[in-house]
């Protein structure tokens, strides 16, 4: 059994396709693992069943209407052993709608909601033979960097249960790192895939804005939200991206990637130029994280890559711009949750308006309310130009910084997160400190460019006693828009040289280390 769970997605799919591994046995092993979730990482698992539309692979029979055309395309096909993901169960962040399966976006206001349709990204996975293994916990409406903003309780980091897994895709990162899923789907608005991937020691890819359809991804900040994979290695990220990318007639902002994504094979970095933003020198960064970053830069050079200094002079304003734009869009996107058509309703004693007010007051958590208020203010008449307008200008400048950098280098590299996983409750009292987690990831989101976080080493938390066990440190590589293939090739080559799995050794939770 343990052998099966050690396979990467690409390996497992190949073995299933070759008949060496049975899809049923493989799926059952993962369902059993998911059922043993002790990280509070799943909000729903396939074993709970989905009633009428059980197309998870857990049920005996094919789902009703399987393969039929719906207004949103073909219904997910019956369980199949074929397709590039034939028989592979995948964990899905609870922000993606799944027909008939509870979908909450980590919020109380959507408790009990079973969507009438399935997100395009999930539909593409299942059409490629994948099964939905479970829905993962997350910060409410993807607002957070620690997963502590979930209405369903925080997720624990499998490397150290007293620490956060990062967020907002904390559940997705924890299930992959914790051996509860072979791969997971997440969303990234300002770092929500990359930062938890970094804190959990796995690979997280945020593709170019528009590469994967947003249809069925519950909106947080529409101009920034992008879906992507959280996986054990870069090849799996490429595999999932290749299945999910594409222009979707249901998403007017989707464009897809030009051409199929191939599994990366590159093993050296010769002829590639990596730009290190000079601003990193002064950035607030844990010493351990800085050490791993510098060691990784050295490793790039050993692989033949060239290191150059680049300037991202406007990136320091990224957080400020992000925390205007994202809440502004969120204030509008979240206005639909009124208790009338779906989700939780708190009946008002007096009238309709009271019902609206009570539903929203009780349904939303503190961070969501904070951002709705911030965003509403930023869009108000008389303040729009000073806040939203100004933030959009900063956004344009940051995109310009990257354009200038990419004229000189192939990639821009940074640490993914300024620190390793921090303790549960450590930053909850200080929202601004929490927001700074996104310092290195937000600029790429604002520019709409692809970026990947790969695990690069271990570092002890700042201020920890000597000899304290190390925690994962992520290394971020960003590429020009639609440069995913090249990005994946470089990440793959670096991943091979870093050999994080070997470096982590028995400490890696999926090997039974911290989970034992």
């Amino acid at each position: 059994m343990a052998d099966l769970l050690d396979l990467t997605v690409a390996e497992a799919a190949a073995k299933i396709a070759a008949g060496e591994v049975s899809a049923e046995e493989y799926g059952a092993a993962w369902r059993a693992a998911a059922a043993g979730d002790d990280l509070n990482a799943y909000l729903w698992t396939a074993d709970e069943g989905a009633g009428e539309t059980d197309w998870t692979g857990a049920g005996e029979s094919a789902p009703p209407g399987a393969g039929e055309e719906t207004p949103y395309g073909a219904n997910p096909a019956a369980p199949a052993d074929s397709g590039p993901l034939g028989g592979v169960p995948i964990a899905i962040k609870d922000i993606f709608t799944t027909q008939g399966i509870p979908t909450t976006a980590g919020s109380k206001i959507l408790e009990g909601y079973r969507p009438p349709y399935t997100a395009t990204a999930v539909r593409k996975l299942t059409a490629a033979g994948a099964r939905v293994l479970g829905k993962t916990n997350m910060d409410e409406f993807a607002m957070g960097s620690s997963n502590e903003n979930s209405a369903y309780g925080p997720v624990r980091n499998p490397w150290d249960r007293d620490r956060v897994p990062g967020g907002s895709s904390g559940g997705s990162a924890a299930v992959v790192a914790g051996g509860l899923a072979p791969a997971a789907l997440g969303t990234d608005t300002g770092g929500s895939i990359r930062q938890p991937a970094s804190l959990c020691g796995i690979v997280g890819l945020k593709p170019t804005y528009g590469a994967i359809s947003r249809f069925g991804m519950i909106a947080f900040a529409s101009s920034l939200d992008q879906c992507g994979p959280l996986t054990r290695d870069v090849a799996d990220a490429a595999l999932l991206l290749g299945v999910m990318e594409g222009k979707d007639p249901l998403d007017a902002t989707s464009v897809g990637l030009d051409g199929a994504i191939a599994l990366p094979t590159r093993e050296d970095l010769s002829g590639l130029r990596f730009g290190v933003p000079k601003e990193i020198g002064e950035a607030a960064l844990d010493a351990g994280v800085r050490a791993v970053f510098e060691a990784t830069i050295a490793r790039i050079e050993e692989l033949g890559g060239e290191i150059a200094e680049v300037a991202l002079p406007h990136a320091e304003h990224g957080i400020s711009a992000y925390y205007v734009i994202a809440p502004a869009e969120a204030s509008s996107n979240l206005a639909r949750y009124d208790g009338v058509r779906y989700g939780q309703r708190v009946a008002g004693d007096e009238d309709l308006v009271t019902m609206y007010e009570e539903t929203r007051a009780q349904g939303f958590g503190a961070e969501v309310k904070r951002r709705v208020m911030l965003g509403t203010y930023a869009l108000s008449s008389g303040y729009y130009d000073a806040y939203y307008g100004q933030a959009q200008k900063v956004r344009t400048r940051i995109a310009g910084d990257f354009d200038a950098a990419f004229a000189e280098v192939d990639f821009v590299v940074t640490p993914t997160s300024p620190s390793v996983a921090f303790g549960l409750g450590e930053k909850t009292a200080d929202p601004l400190a929490m927001y700074l987690n996104d310092f290195f990831t937000v600029p790429m989101s604002l520019a709409g460019i692809p970026a990947i976080s790969i695990p690069a080493g271990l570092a002890a938390p700042e201020g920890a006693a000597a000899g304290a066990p190390g925690l994962p440190v992520g290394f971020q590589i960003a590429a020009p828009a639609f440069g995913e293939q090249k990005l994946l090739e470089a990440a793959h080559a670096l991943e091979g040289a870093l050999d994080f799995a070997a470096a982590a050794g028995d400490a890696a939770p999926w090997r039974g280390g911290a989970r034992a």
Partner: protein
């Protein structure tokens, strides 16, 4: 005190008659069972996204071109945020600072803009107030929610209630002929709001305006504006100032009630809709829209007036393109066309004959072939038959669908009685003989007395005689 001048601008919402809604695949409908034309997208379920209706964009371009608007090469959608049960997303997708159609004009009235947006759902608030506050329940029908709308905004160029209603009719007729909307005010596919203010005649400044909402007929538009102008003039005459507010006109009572004042005005928090990309109106799209435009009422009326039709006749025909095409077909089939005479026959005699036969005419497949009517008009013009006989032939054409005018004239013996065979002269002589008193009066210079003898002749000839010829013969026989 100087006279107060009315200053009026209109905002017109036109529901587009596309096959599906503006941003989803649900069918458009009117009068169906509530909430049957809905889907996760128009019900604003979590995670859904809008995709613009291509046909609606093409229709908006047609409207823009018909109103002589500048077409924006690149226009964008905005979100207009407001919280109301008829608006499930809590924002309406509309256009704000860059509408698809910019400045234009229709007649003498300048168009500010015409933009695309989506309609709200229908709501009914139960309870004593009829408003959302204090209601015990609100019923919502989402069938209408998401219907494509074009909102047309005019400059404040209208100077009176009657002028506003008249111009609105021209706009309705223009949009109707584009075949992009049912433009039915009762069903709400055409909705008119008016911005009304007054100012001292000759002033160029604008007074404080009020907005009159949803007057659902042209008559109510006129009456509502009249009532509001009277109210505003009363306030100003009494030395008061008009407050900016939104008013509802009740046509039954004639009352104007305030819906909301400036203090309660919404802050819609407009921002660019991030779920949509810009509408890029390509040369090809604009050319296609332009090629599909029919000749519009204002242009057609002007052309007809140039051809000698009087204004009323020209407007009548221009307002009914089917009848106008028919008119042109008759004109084309005529050997010696006289547009004014043909127009009289088409809008007068033919319309009366069709009405008499209770026919709801479809000019696409006309009851009377254009060639037949052309022949008939030609025969009366050449005095081969009299006007009265012509009317009888027309009635037969309408009733039987026959097409051979000459055969009908022959069969019914309706050929005009000329002077050649002397028959008409004999009937005239007999009539004079039968009324010596009248004959005497005529001889003594009483011209009016001739009517009595003409009447007898017409009766005897069953209207086949030409009135002028009868007059000439009477006078000739009396030696005058």
């Amino acid at each position: 005190m100087p006279e107060l001048e009315a200053v009026i601008g209109l905002e017109i919402h036109v529901q587009l008659a596309t096959r599906t809604k503006m941003f989803c695949g649900c069918a458009l409908s009117f009068g169906d069972e509530p909430n049957v034309h809905t889907c996760p997208i128009c019900l604003a379920h979590p995670g859904v996204l809008p995709v613009p209706n291509e046909e609606a964009i093409a229709y908006a371009l047609k409207i823009g071109l018909a109103l002589d608007c500048e077409i924006a090469p690149r226009s964008i959608f905005h979100r207009k945020n407001y919280f109301y049960p008829d608006n499930p997303k809590a924002y309406q997708i509309s256009q704000y600072d860059i509408p698809i159609c910019g400045p234009g004009k229709l007649g003498d009235i300048r168009i500010t803009r015409a933009h695309l947006e989506e309609d709200a759902a229908k709501t009914i608030h139960a309870g004593s107030t009829g408003r959302i506050h204090g209601s015990t329940a609100s019923l919502v029908d989402f069938n209408r929610g998401g219907t494509p709308l074009v909102e047309i905004v005019t400059e404040p160029d209208l100077r009176g209630a009657a002028e506003a209603a008249e111009w609105a009719r021209l706009l309705r007729e223009t949009v109707r002929q584009l075949d992009v909307s049912n433009v039915n005010m009762e069903e709400g596919s055409l909705r008119i709001d008016a911005n009304v203010s007054v100012r001292p005649a000759g002033s160029t400044e604008l007074g404080t305006k009020t907005e009159l909402k949803n007057m659902n007929s042209f008559r109510f538009v006129q009456r509502g504006i009249e009532a509001e102008l009277e109210r505003q003039r009363g306030i100003v005459d009494a030395g008061g100032t008009v407050e900016q507010e939104t008013l509802h006109f009740d046509p039954t009572s004639g009352d104007l009630t305030s819906l909301r004042s400036k203090e309660e005005a919404h802050d819609y928090r407009y921002f660019p809709e991030p779920d949509l990309v810009a509408i890029v109106a390509t040369e090809a799209m604009i050319a296609a829209a332009r090629a599909s435009l029919p000749e519009l009422p204002a242009a057609r009326q002007a052309r007809y007036e140039g051809e000698g039709l009087d204004e009323a006749q020209a407007r009548l025909l221009a307002a009914d393109p089917g009848q106008a095409e028919y008119f042109e077909a008759v004109l084309a089939a005529s050997t010696a066309p006289e547009p004014r005479v043909v127009a009289n026959w088409v809008t007068g005699e033919l319309t009366a004959a069709l009405r008499g036969a209770e026919i709801d005419e479809d000019y696409g497949s006309p009851t009377v072939a254009p060639a037949a009517l052309a022949e008939l008009i030609g025969a009366t013009a050449a005095k081969t038959i009299s006007h009265g006989s012509g009317r009888q032939v027309l009635a037969i054409l309408v009733e039987t669908g026959e097409g051979d005018v000459a055969a009908i004239v022959e069969r019914e013996g309706l050929a005009q009685m000329g002077g050649d065979d002397g028959e008409l002269a004999r009937i005239v002589a007999a009539a004079i003989e039968g009324d010596p008193a009248a004959a005497e009066q005529i001889r003594n210079g009483n011209g009016k007395a001739i009517g009595a003898i003409v009447g007898v002749v017409m009766r005897e000839t069953k209207g086949r005689a030409d009135g002028g010829e009868v007059n000439r013969l009477i006078r000739e026989q009396l030696g005058l």
